[in-house]
């Protein structure tokens, strides 16, 4: 007997949605192995890991507030990924949102009125779009690889934010800690559910899901983007501009990440720290793939990834494991997802071992 991979005539629609579930199940298995290695009882540790972040209303609020930026960024990135545009600069675009939104909040927040928060959101979107526009411009004009350029800009953005927080934006009353002055109330999102920290940024994420779905499933632009992603040659033949696809793909991610950045500072933190993002820009890449680059799917995968972030804190507090275990599980999840995705295009065929010549003959179609 041997196992062989057989090309399917059509990509399997079932496997497209079964694959994330398989990946999650396999990641849980790996998690149990790691818990066992750490000397914990695997099953109960996994149960603690998954369920304790959902124990009460406050925790559910935390889940939503962490899921919001992940969903928002992932929807934006997915539009690019669908078009074959590899924007991995979500992290830097988010930070630009923090910088632009933060500038408006710190300058006009104390004196301004209710317009401050909307201005921050617009400013953040512009900041993210500008940062995403750089790789788009370099790709369309100079053919520079957008993965490398957008990634390099992540580091530049982080250094820019550090400069601001350690320099001009440092809170004079902050005991020399690297943090900005607290943001004025007019620069903060209103709380949505009493007794939690869940705020209106969740609504923005939901709007993004709706817009993303409409763009990708209902509009001609979305169709053009998808065709470009599937086959650049076909897109060219149909007269769809590849450059436009790059611009739309990059800017969608940039705008979304920039707004998510504003959501971070105008949310529970209410202050700007050099570590404004706990890696949301990178995690959103996983969220986008796990959600099958589909806004509705991303809604669920974003919640799952948010749970993983909260579970990391639980792991630290009640299981005695470092919270960086979240990153490990994120990577494992993505790996298993890509492995399971192989089954979208191939099927496993069990066949008895045969002499070579007969296999040749059966392949001779």
């Amino acid at each position: 007997m041997s196992i062989r991979f057989e090309l399917r005539a059509q990509p399997s629609k079932t496997m497209v949605w079964l694959s994330p579930i398989m990946a999650i199940a396999l990641t849980c298995c790996v998690a149990m192995v790691i818990f066992a290695l750490a000397g914990l009882e695997p099953v109960s540790a996994l149960a603690t890991f998954i369920f304790s972040p959902l124990a009460d209303l406050y925790s559910v609020g935390e889940l939503l507030i962490k899921a919001a930026p992940l969903i928002l960024i992932a929807v934006g990135l997915a539009i690019g990924f669908r078009a074959g545009v590899w924007n991995v600069g979500g992290e830097g675009q988010l930070i630009l949102g923090v910088i632009f939104g933060g500038f408006i909040a710190l300058t006009y927040g104390p004196t301004g009125g209710i317009w401050v928060l909307p201005a921050m959101v617009v400013g953040g979107a512009i900041g993210g779009a500008l940062w995403a526009g750089i790789p788009a411009f370099l790709r369309t004009h100079f053919n520079a690889n957008e993965i490398l350029t957008s990634l390099m800009l992540n580091y530049v953005a982080q250094l820019w934010l550090s400069y601001l927080i350690f320099g001009p934006w440092r809170d004079p009353a902050g005991f020399n800690f690297p943090q900005s002055a607290p943001l004025a109330p007019s620069a903060l999102f209103p709380t949505l559910i009493d007794g939690t920290r869940a705020n209106a940024s969740i609504l923005i994420a939901l709007v993004a899901v709706g817009l993303g779905w409409a763009l990708m499933s209902k509009s001609f632009v979305g169709f053009q983007l998808k065709v470009t992603g599937l086959s650049e040659g076909a897109a060219k033949y149909a007269g769809f501009s590849a450059k436009r696809a790059v611009w739309i793909g990059m800017l969608a991610g940039g705008v979304a990440a920039g707004i998510a950045g504003v959501g971070e500072i105008a949310g529970p933190l209410g202050q700007i720290f050099p570590t404004a993002s706990p890696g949301y820009g990178y995690a959103a890449i996983i969220v986008a793939f796990l959600g099958r680059l589909n806004p509705i799917g991303i809604l669920f995968s974003g919640l799952l990834m948010s749970l993983l972030y909260l579970s990391g804190d639980v792991a630290q507090m009640s299981l005695g494991l470092p919270s960086s275990i979240t990153g490990l599980f994120q990577g494992t999840l993505l790996f298993f997802l890509l492995t399971a995705d192989v089954l979208i295009h191939y099927r496993l065929a069990l066949e008895p071992a045969r002499p070579l010549y007969r296999r040749e003959a059966s392949n001779g179609l």
Partner: protein, 308 residues
């Protein structure tokens, strides 16, 4: 004058060496037609593994070997997915980076804040006793020497002069033809990927054990990505890759140069220099589309199916 120049040259060497290792490794992988964007994650894992092993055993070389093994193991994962299962190489590479970074920060947690005590006599050996040039030998770590003779020279010879190197290039340029002649395309791509992983492992090991003598999150700081960009900059030629590595090494050390020259720019701007330089260099090389077409291995990033 000579004494002012020497430290600058030395620091450029020290900062450029990890890029020599990672860049040459990735170059070999890409010349076989495999685009492994997971260098950053492999370097992070290699750095942690090397640091942990070197710290517990007290032997730097065991650490380096362990990092090589870890790097090769990680890239084996990449190879199975990207070469055998023909998954999207960009996606798998990205997954490698996220996974390797996560694995590194998880494994490295207990070692944060510990320092590796370097045995000063280990570097250079007896050569350090020589007059005049002696300090050079004690200042230049054996891993730097190795990056010249073992890596640079051997990689150049392998690619340009050896039969195996010819096969590797054939696989990267025209896998179908190479397959038709009878070269094992998949196996050669596996070896090229494993080699790249092991080299990234050394690069990571160098960062944690020689460069910094400690492990901290953010130690690698994008050097793996710079190495990937470096291969493009080098137009897939090893000798240019080495020159580029020292160029970027110099950019990393720009902060020191600026300080010694009394230039009062914000340190963050100086730290951003290598990343900005990478972007500028990528643009300069990539804009010449005919040069790119001639240089890039023709099958780069494209999966090969031996069944046709």
């Amino acid at each position: 004058m000579g004494f002012d120049l020497l430290p600058i040259l030395l620091s450029t060497l020290i900062a450029g060496t990890p890029l020599v290792y990672a860049g040459l490794g990735e170059l070999i992988t890409e010349r076989a037609g495999v685009l492994n964007m997971g260098v950053e994650g492999t370097m992070v894992t290699g750095a942690v593994v090397a640091f942990a092993v070197a710290l517990t055993t007290g032997n730097l070389w065991l650490g380096v070997l362990a990092a090589m093994a870890a790097g090769a193991l990680l890239s084996l994962l990449f190879a199975v997915l990207a070469i055998s299962f023909r998954a999207n190489q960009l996606a798998v590479g990205l997954a490698m980076t996220i996974f390797g970074t996560g694995l590194g920060s998880y494994l490295g947690k207990p070692y944060v804040g510990m320092a590796l005590v370097q045995d000063a006599t280990q570097a250079g050996g007896g050569l350090a006793q020589l007059p005049v040039v002696g300090p050079l030998f004690s200042a230049i770590h054996p891993l730097i020497w190795l990056s010249w003779d073992y890596c640079s020279a051997a990689v150049w010879y392998f690619l340009a002069r050896s039969r195996a190197g010819l096969a590797l290039r054939a696989v990267g340029e025209a896998p179908t033809s190479a397959h038709a002649i009878g070269y094992p395309v998949v196996r050669i791509r596996y070896w090229a990927t494993l080699f790249g992983g092991a080299m990234s492992g050394i690069a990571g090991a160098y960062m944690s054990t020689v460069y910094a003598s400690l492990w901290t999150e953010g130690l690698i700081a994008g050097r793996g990505w710079i190495a990937v960009a470096l291969v493009v900059f080098a137009t897939w030629r090893p000798e240019r890759c080495i020159a580029g590595a020292y160029l970027f090494g110099g950019a990393t050390m720009a902060q020191l140069f600026a300080q010694s020259a009394g230039i009062g720019l914000p340190s963050e701007l100086m730290s951003a220099l290598p990343y900005l330089a990478t972007i500028v260099v990528l643009v300069l090389i990539s804009r010449d589309s005919s040069l790119m077409r001639l240089s890039v291995p023709a099958s780069l990033g494209k999966p090969f199916n031996p069944q046709g």
